[in-house]
């Protein structure tokens, strides 16, 4: 099976509570929700982050939202104002998770590849009209 980056299958948002970062992962396409549930186990996510997460990883499911919520304990160097990290509040742990390489069926890879990236013709200097 081909391998793609999670960034093409899901978008994500993260935040903090003390020394714990949370990462919510949301399937772009509801058809990929089951695949995310099977792939993104607590063990897999813990292994992905390695030394960046000192404590446990907990996972919660929000099936109607096609989303998973991960709690990464001991990820923020003490958290709040104690932390020496640039990302002391875990704001971009979300995108760090989206770096993960995942194996998917051919048709999913074909459909999803490039989904999480700006199109080649994007010009940031041009205003986006409603």
């Amino acid at each position: 099976m081909p391998t793609i980056q999670l960034v093409d299958l899901a978008h994500a948002r993260s935040g903090d509570k003390g020394d714990t970062a949370n990462v919510g992962v949301i399937a772009y396409d509801p058809r990929d929700w089951e695949l995310l549930r099977e792939t993104l186990t607590e063990e897999r996510v813990k292994a992905h982050f390695g030394e960046m997460v000192k404590g446990d990883v907990e996972r919660y499911e929000l099936p109607n939202l096609h989303a998973l919520n991960f709690l990464l304990h001991g990820a923020l160097g003490g958290g709040g104002t104690v932390s020496l990290m640039t990302d002391a509040q875990g704001k971009v742990f979300s995108t760090a998770l989206l770096r993960m390489q995942v194996e998917v069926p051919d048709e999913v890879a074909r459909r999803a590849r490039g989904r999480g990236w700006v199109p080649a013709d994007f010009d940031p200097s041009v205003p986006v009209e409603p």
Binding site: H11, G18, G24, G50, N64, G77
Partner: protein, 461 residues
């Protein structure tokens, strides 16, 4: 008051944190219909910052840009019947209320408006009394009793719920100012007031909590900081902040004023729902415990998302307490290294600096080094930097209980420019500053230790 079952009330978000877009509340009031404007000013560290300010100056200790903001919108709010609910009071809601009355007079609404001031969440003056009475205020994660850091505590406040806000609204307050109210209560207290919900209406209240969670971060629920298709987000230069159209049965629609920028869509709202989320089946507030696992989102029109399916159950017997204590010092120094071999130069500078700090005999609880432009946010997941990386910023941070160690560190960055690896620049900002660390101590307290102290005062403008 009668409670019409078909009524809709509009509760807009005006500030997502202290320092948010100052024009947003002005747009919310002027750009379309609105009944309530909620403004959240308090994060975990904000209370300790405000307490420090109040220690220096007794009239301070609240979000000081709130009264001038009200001066700009007070008249429009009174004319349109928009009532304001905010936790801008910080550790000094009375002081905030007094300045607000002055702002109202300057804005020309004398005799036309009332300010409600909620007090009693502050525990700092009662801390020893509470500890002696057996409230140990154990750290929620470590279980350690507060006694361990008592002499270093800077601020202590209970997260209070909607009760006193509803009381102030019933008493006719046009602006309600609180201290450490929960962020979500600022949105669901108006629903309780308008729809006559009782504390036992658990499912409705739980919907109100979710509405509050969506409102509390400002434009994060209307396209700001949204990852999904961010490059398509329209007219962010005039982003419309979210507003909640609430119904008496609890269900609500998230939307924003017509003609404003940003986007309210299912994926955008989903991202905000997941922000700072813990166990979604156990979202604890002072007034209800919400279960979001059955929550449904439905796009019911352009920039309109309907939320339903939230379950609620009775609140616990406890309030969360936000305690801040002094926990040493830290400082961050930065230098920029340029091509060729930018990362190798920065890593060499790191090694040299570590050795110098060692030779000086300084003690640090932690030293952390990041290469901004390479691994600062994604750590080892970024892999090894390419040899032709154009530039990196070396970001070197230290933390210590001893102020002297941190102060001496701040004098060790600049010397690296002439005594370390080449092609280094970006030091014009001067010496880094040693900063006192305010650590956060989350604890629980029984509600009956706080409730009798809560008070609502109504001031005439």
């Amino acid at each position: 008051m009668t409670h019409d079952d078909t009524r809709t009330i509009r509760i807009g978000s005006g500030q997502g944190f202290w320092g948010d877009d100052l024009e947003a509340p002005v747009r919310q009031v002027h750009d379309g219909p609105l009944d309530y404007l909620m403004m959240d000013y308090l994060a975990e560290v904000t209370m300790s910052i405000m307490q420090k300010q109040r220690n220096r100056r007794p009239e301070a200790g609240f979000a000081r840009d709130f009264p001038p903001l009200m001066e700009r919108i007070f008249e429009a709010c009174v004319e349109k019947g928009v009532r304001v609910v905010t936790n801008a009071g910080g550790v000094n809601p009375e002081g905030c209320g007094a300045e607000l009355v002055e702002a109202g007079r300057a804005a020309g609404v004398s005799g036309k408006a009332r300010v409600g001031v909620v007090t009693g969440d502050g525990l700092m003056d009662r801390l020893d009394e509470l500890l002696e009475a057996g409230h140990e205020l154990r750290h929620m994660e470590t279980g350690e009793p507060l006694a361990a850091v008592r002499d270093r505590v800077q601020s202590a406040n209970a997260y209070i719920g909607a009760g006193p806000i509803v009381e102030a609204l019933e008493a006719g307050a046009d602006v309600v100012v609180t201290g450490r109210s929960t962020d979500t209560a600022l949105t669901y207290a108006p629903m309780m007031h308008e729809f006559g919900w009782s504390p036992e209406d658990h499912h409705r209240l739980a919907h109100g909590v979710v509405a509050g969670h969506i409102n509390e971060c400002g434009a994060q629920a209307s396209g700001g900081n949204a990852l999904v298709d961010w490059w398509t987000m329209p007219a962010m230069e005039r982003v419309g902040f979210p507003l909640i159209e609430a119904h008496p049965d609890g269900s609500f629609v998230v939307t924003k004023h017509d003609g404003t920028g940003g986007r309210v869509s299912r994926p955008v709202v989903t991202e905000q729902l997941l922000y700072e989320m813990g166990d979604p089946s156990d979202y604890i507030t002072p007034d209800v415990v919400a279960d979001l696992t059955g929550l449904e989102l439905e796009e019911v029109g352009p920039d309109r998302v309907r939320v339903s399916g939230v379950q609620g159950r009775p609140a616990t017997d406890f309030l969360k307490v936000s305690i801040a204590y002094s926990d040493g010092y830290k400082a961050v120094g930065t230098l920029v290294y340029a091509w060729p071999d930018a990362a190798a130069k920065a890593r060499s500078a790191e090694r040299i600096l570590r050795a110098r700090l060692d030779r000086l005999g300084l003690t640090f609880d932690e030293i952390r080094c990041e290469l901004v432009g390479w691994d600062a946010t994604h750590g080892h997941l970024a892999g090894e930097p390419p040899a032709d990386i154009p530039e990196v910023q070396l970001r070197f941070a230290v933390r210590s209980r001893e102020r002297e160690s941190v102060e001496r560190f701040t004098r060790e960055i600049a010397p690296l420019v002439l005594t370390g690896p080449p092609s280094v620049t970006g030091f014009a900002g001067g010496r880094p500053r040693a900063q006192e660390i305010m650590a956060f101590w989350p604890a629980l307290i029984r509600k009956e230790a706080v409730r009798p102290h809560l008070n609502v005062e109504i001031l005439e403008v």
